[in-house]
């Protein structure tokens, strides 16, 4: 097929049918390009996945909330029509305590939160000044989030180019000024490089409240809360939605896999094609121009546009031969930081666990607080210790965890006619676990998978005694699994570590922050590109924007 001068069947091939690959493909197809998505697994959606832990018992396999999905992606790709239904509980986050004292609950309705915090202050659980601080902090984070959200919604400037560099300075200055007007705490340029522990320390005296918020600054990263730049992770998590300090807790009816399926449907509705079970072995090229892909099956497919939804290390180092990059770029790509520290444990439970913080409350009230994110980090030190173990290659004594119990919102996860063990399942619990180092000092993840599952259950037991008895089945996904099954180098769920050194116009590499990779016609559209990881669709959408801009110039059609 290649090299015979006949026109390609496809204008664009998207490698990887993760949510960003599909988003990108759908936008390209909508503009009339002939698009093919090649996905290695049998499910579209990548990390937006649902799996059966027991027959007819479904759990969010990896990600469990989708509150950061860009509204523009959902709207323009008409995901609702394609089956996406979002569920937003009244509760955003609940942080249980270890000692049975009432935990902290953050509600979508800020006045409800403030009322509750006032009650907690009355009982001496948090200092009274934190109640007033909460509203201030919420305002400040909303302002910061909207400032950063503006940056995250755009293709980054080419800062290597003089005139645009000037523009960047202007943009940053304007943002700084803009957000300063909204917040007494100084603008983005002050806040983004901070350690999230310092930022929450400026807001709150209470460690319980501080840790609940600070956890968002380390989530999915290998960072501890004392590390500079983690404030950026928090602000990015607050960008693009009005969640503020409480954050988001949006779930998908039927599980996150429905998002993947809806995106795949959107691609097809726009005339694109999604091929499952099709693993790409490498990208083909002529000189410095991408010409298509070779599948693991040996089939060759031509296209003048090749878009990779894979992480940049895999894209540059595995899909291209070293000569295509040259020594410097190979070296730079190999230094992209991708040390994953996130694992996942999913549980099928025979009943709703009882948290000691909620003991005595009615079952309806317990459920009301457990429908959002349940954050297991009683203090900032907990987060620090969990990360510290991981950076030395050990499992922590007590991991940081964020759990959801999606069956409290969505009974469709439990199919009809469950039998045997599955028949006992009343709830499922999805637990994101940190910090589980990709590189273990002792043993392998294959040997230690069970240990991680035990550790999570033991830790949960400290907050919700008896939960172990309720566990009918468990699924443990290690960083090695994330690398193997989802293709993310180092098992990093964000593809590329969320540090300021791999951020914005220089994510994943300075000079390659605008989705264009070193071969003409080769693009990056995954989480390793701006604006980064999480189920946002942002990189996919912005990459499509740039690809379409290049396509419209006609330069990319030369090979067709």
């Amino acid at each position: 097929m290649s090299g015979n001068g006949s026109p390609s069947t496809y204008d664009a091939i998207v490698i990887g049918g993760g949510h960003n690959g599909l988003t990108c493909a759908a936008f390209l197809a909508r503009d009339g390009l002939r698009v093919l998505v090649l996905e290695k697994s049998e499910q579209p959606g990548g990390m937006a996945a649902t799996s059966e832990i027991l027959p007819s018992v479904r759990v969010p396999t990896l990600a469990h909330t989708v509150g950061r999905l860009r509204p523009k992606v959902a709207r323009e790709l008409r995901l609702r029509e394609h089956g996406l239904a979002l569920l937003g509980p009244e509760v955003r986050a609940f942080a249980p305590s270890l000692d049975g004292s009432p935990g902290v609950t953050l509600w979508a309705d800020i006045s409800r939160t403030v009322n509750e915090l006032t009650g907690l202050a009355g009982r001496g659980v948090i200092p009274l000044r934190d109640v007033a601080a909460y509203a201030d902090a919420d305002r400040q984070l909303l302002a910061l989030g909207s400032g950063l959200g503006a940056l995250m919604g755009r293709v980054p400037p080419d800062i290597g180019h003089p005139s645009l560099a000037d523009a960047l300075a202007g943009v940053l200055s304007g943002l700084e000024a803009g957000s300063r007007a909204h917040s007494e705490g100084g603008g983005l340029l002050r806040v983004l490089p901070m350690a999230v522990s310092d930022l929450v320390g400026e807001w709150f005296e209470s460690d319980a409240l501080g840790a609940l918020v600070a956890a968002r600054g380390v989530q999915y990263t290998s960072f501890g809360p004392l590390m500079p730049g983690t404030a950026q992770v928090l602000v990015a998590d607050a960008a693009g939605h009005g969640g503020g300090i409480a954050g988001q807790s949006v779930m998908v009816r039927g599980g996150p896999g429905v998002l993947g399926a809806a995106l795949a449907t959107a691609v097809e509705a726009a005339g694109g094609e999604v091929r499952l079970g099709a693993e790409v072995a490498r990208v083909t090229r002529t000189g410095d121009r991408a010409t298509g892909v070779v599948l693991a099956s040996g089939d060759e497919l031509d296209a003048s546009i090749v878009v990779s939804g894979l992480d940049p290390k895999r894209t540059l180092l595995d899909l291209l031969e070293p000569e295509a990059l040259g020594p410097r770029l190979s070296w730079r790509a190999s230094n992209i930081r991708t040390h994953g520290a996130t694992a996942k444990v999913n549980l099928a439970l025979s009943g709703l666990p009882t948290f000691s913080s909620l003991a005595g409350a009615s079952s309806e009230e317990q459920a009301a607080r457990l429908r959002g994110r349940i954050v297991f980090a009683p203090d900032v030190d907990w987060l620090e210790r969990a990360t510290r173990a991981a950076k030395h290659g050990r499992l922590p004594e007590a991991p940081y965890m964020e759990a959801t119990i999606p069956t409290l919102l969505d009974r469709t996860l439990l199919g009809e006619g469950r039998k045997g063990e599955a028949g006992r399942v009343e709830q499922v619990m999805s637990v994101i676990v940190q910090a589980a180092p990709y590189e273990l000092r002792d043993g392998s993840w294959e040997e230690r998978r069970g240990e991680l599952g035990d550790l999570v259950l033991e830790t949960l037991e400290r907050f919700a005694p008896g939960i172990g008895e309720l566990a009918v089945e468990r699924q443990v996904i290690t960083p090695l699994d994330i690398e193997r099954d989802w293709g993310a180098t180092g098992g990093h769920p964000l593809h590329v570590e969320a540090g300021l050194d791999q951020w914005f116009a220089w994510r994943p590499l300075h000079g390659y922050g605008r989705y264009r990779m070193p071969l003409a016609g080769l693009y990056l559209c995954g989480s390793g590109a701006h604006p980064g990881g999480g189920l946002t669709g942002g990189p996919g959408m912005l990459a499509a924007q740039e690809i379409l801009a290049d396509w419209s110039t006609g330069r990319l059609r030369a090979s067709a």
């Binding site: 003089p162 000037d166 310092d198 004392l226 230094n335």
Partner: protein, 538 residues
């Protein structure tokens, strides 16, 4: 009747003296008020034990701005910098268990090749890159901070200039600059090198004076900060002033005095006097008042704006901004008087050249990171990072004949100890022992060499030098506390109080013996008169 000056400078540290010298040279009447009985602040030589002269706090010089040396003719005023050659990193006691980089290129390459051929090849490329980076940031040190934010046209222009200069760099330097501002120093250097002690020793420059791990993002900036130095035009060259670091402040003081400045010791300032939002002078602890058109404080920003102002002077949001500024001292200093030099077992017997350089206890990244973990828990490091020198080898004037001085900069020693440890006064000698034991891991005879030991904990550094929380840089060198945000967003050397200026390390470009904050502040003060913003009393 109060005395009157054009300017009063609070604090006779090297920055206060530098500011005073520049103001006096411009024809201003200036008085410097120093709390202690000696000038120099943390740039001081003191005879702590008879015959042994310690550079009590700061111990090497590199970052002193060359134009200050020229402008103030410091050489004529007695400053002589003796080069320090090489860094030895012992990694064990067995022979050959060390990495020893010396200035001599051939020897250095041979030594690096002993560890890794690839590292030996990468080393020159790395060194060149870092020199280029130092050159790139140099204008930022010598001018004020680039001002982001606000719609101040001068600020926008500054940012645009920075952006243009950045855009003119080749890609490798652009990349390195971004990484230096944002990366962990360990990851930064590991891009080039695989030899563990080399990685660790280079990365350790990223934690000096800062409560960060080599694995913390942001530590690469501190690394760059330490590369900004030049001695005789050569970047990243370190030297020892003859007579100790006190000789630097001595020379600057001489220059200031010659230009007509009055330098008064034993003159602690109790308060900055403010009338109608304007600083009018100071009141000394003695009760004496001094009036001045401009008050410059080389004390840190917290001391200046919280301790020296009448409560309520600052608007509450300004005071909140001052209180947000992080200090978090994390270093200590242990100065030894030695009967003889300790023997590092890893070196061939009879080796002496390493005493002319530094010895760095930084065998691995993990070693340094664990030292940090201790500090996060509120304990001093069991096995600390130690950067030590032997000034008496290069400059015999600082010790009695045949005897020696050994200066040890130590990290980490957190200002705030865990409650169960009590106070730093309780822990001072235990800390000194930890340092001595860490050295003994490589030079077991150290215990037999020690005649006397002076241990400075962060608490001592605060008490003795007035540095809040014992932070040697007058505030952490964190990205959010640098450039335009140092120490208060957008303020530069100004403070919310008119006529009250900051001229110490709390201000841009931050700590170390650079003189840049003092010189830059003086220039701003002088410039503001030209624009009619400052009332010169004369």
């Amino acid at each position: 009747m109060a005395e009157r000056y054009d300017a009063v400078v609070i604090g006779g540290g090297h920055n206060g003296l530098t500011a005073a010298a520049y103001l006096a040279r411009a024809g201003w009447s200036v008085i410097v008020l120093e709390r202690r009985e000696v000038l120099g602040g943390a740039t001081v030589t003191e005879e702590v034990f008879p015959g042994f002269k310690f550079s009590v706090a700061s111990y090497v010089v590199s970052l002193l701005r060359p134009d200050i040396i020229r402008d103030l003719e410091l050489a004529r005023h007695g400053l002589q910098v003796l080069p320090v050659d090489g860094t030895l990193t012992p990694v064990g006691q067995g022979e050959g268990e060390y990495l020893w980089r010396v200035d001599d290129h051939g020897r250095k390459v041979r030594e690096l090749r002993r560890w890794s051929k690839a590292d030996a090849e990468a080393y020159d490329e790395y060194s060149l890159l870092m020199s280029e980076m130092a050159r790139f940031v140099k204008p930022m040190l010598d001018e004020g901070p680039p001002r982001a934010g606000g719609f101040d046209p001068r600020g926008m222009l500054g940012m645009a200039t920075l952006a243009r200069r950045f855009a003119a760099l080749p890609e490798p330097q652009q990349t390195a600059f971004i990484q230096l501002l944002t990366m962990p120093s360990a990851d930064f250097v590991s891009q080039w090198f695989e030899t563990e002690p080399l990685r660790a020793t280079l990365a350790a420059s990223g934690i000096i004076g800062t409560f960060l791990s080599v694995r913390s993002p942001g530590s690469a900036y501190v690394l760059l900060h330490h590369y900004m130095g030049e001695v005789d035009g050569e970047y990243r060259a370190w030297g020892l002033p003859r007579g100790g670091t006190g000789a630097i402040s001595g020379a600057i003081a001489a220059a200031a005095r010659e230009a007509g400045a009055e330098l008064r010791t034993d003159a602690p300032v109790a308060r900055v006097n403010v009338r109608d939002g304007r600083a009018t002078g100071v009141t000394l602890a003695s009760g004496d008042e001094i009036e001045a058109g401009a008050v410059l404080s080389s004390a840190d920003v917290r001391r200046t704006l919280v301790d020296l102002l009448e409560p309520g002077t600052l608007a509450s949001e300004d005071e909140a901004a001052v209180r947000r500024f992080q200090f978090r001292g994390s270093s200590g200093k242990v100065n030894f008087a030695l009967s003889r030099l300790p023997t590092f077992k890893c070196l061939p017997p009879g080796t002496t050249d390493h005493y002319r350089g530094m010895v760095s206890l930084s065998p691995s990244i993990d070693y340094l990171d664990r030292a940090y973990d201790d500090a996060v828990d509120g304990r001093f490091s069991t096995r600390p990072y130690v950067d030590m020198g032997f000034p008496s080898v290069i400059d015999p004037s600082v010790a009695p004949p045949g005897k020696h001085v050994m200066a040890c900069f130590v990290q980490y020693a957190p200002f705030r100890l865990a409650p169960e440890l009590g106070t730093w006064e309780d822990q001072r000698e235990a800390f000194g022992d930890a340092v001595q034991n860490a050295i003994a891991e490589y030079a077991p005879d150290i215990h037999d060499c020690v005649l006397h030991r002076q241990v400075l904990t962060p608490w001592d550094i605060e008490q003795r030098f007035g540095l809040s929380e014992g932070n040697i840089f007058q505030g952490e060198l964190l990205l959010e506390q640098l450039f335009n945000n140092r120490p208060l967003p957008g303020a530069g050397y100004r403070t919310p109080v008119k006529n009250l200026w900051l001229c110490g390390s709390s201000a841009h470009p931050g700590g170390a013996i650079s003189g840049a904050p003092g010189r830059n502040a003086a220039r701003e003060v002088l410039g503001s008169v030209g624009r009619g913003r400052q009332e010169k009393v004369a």
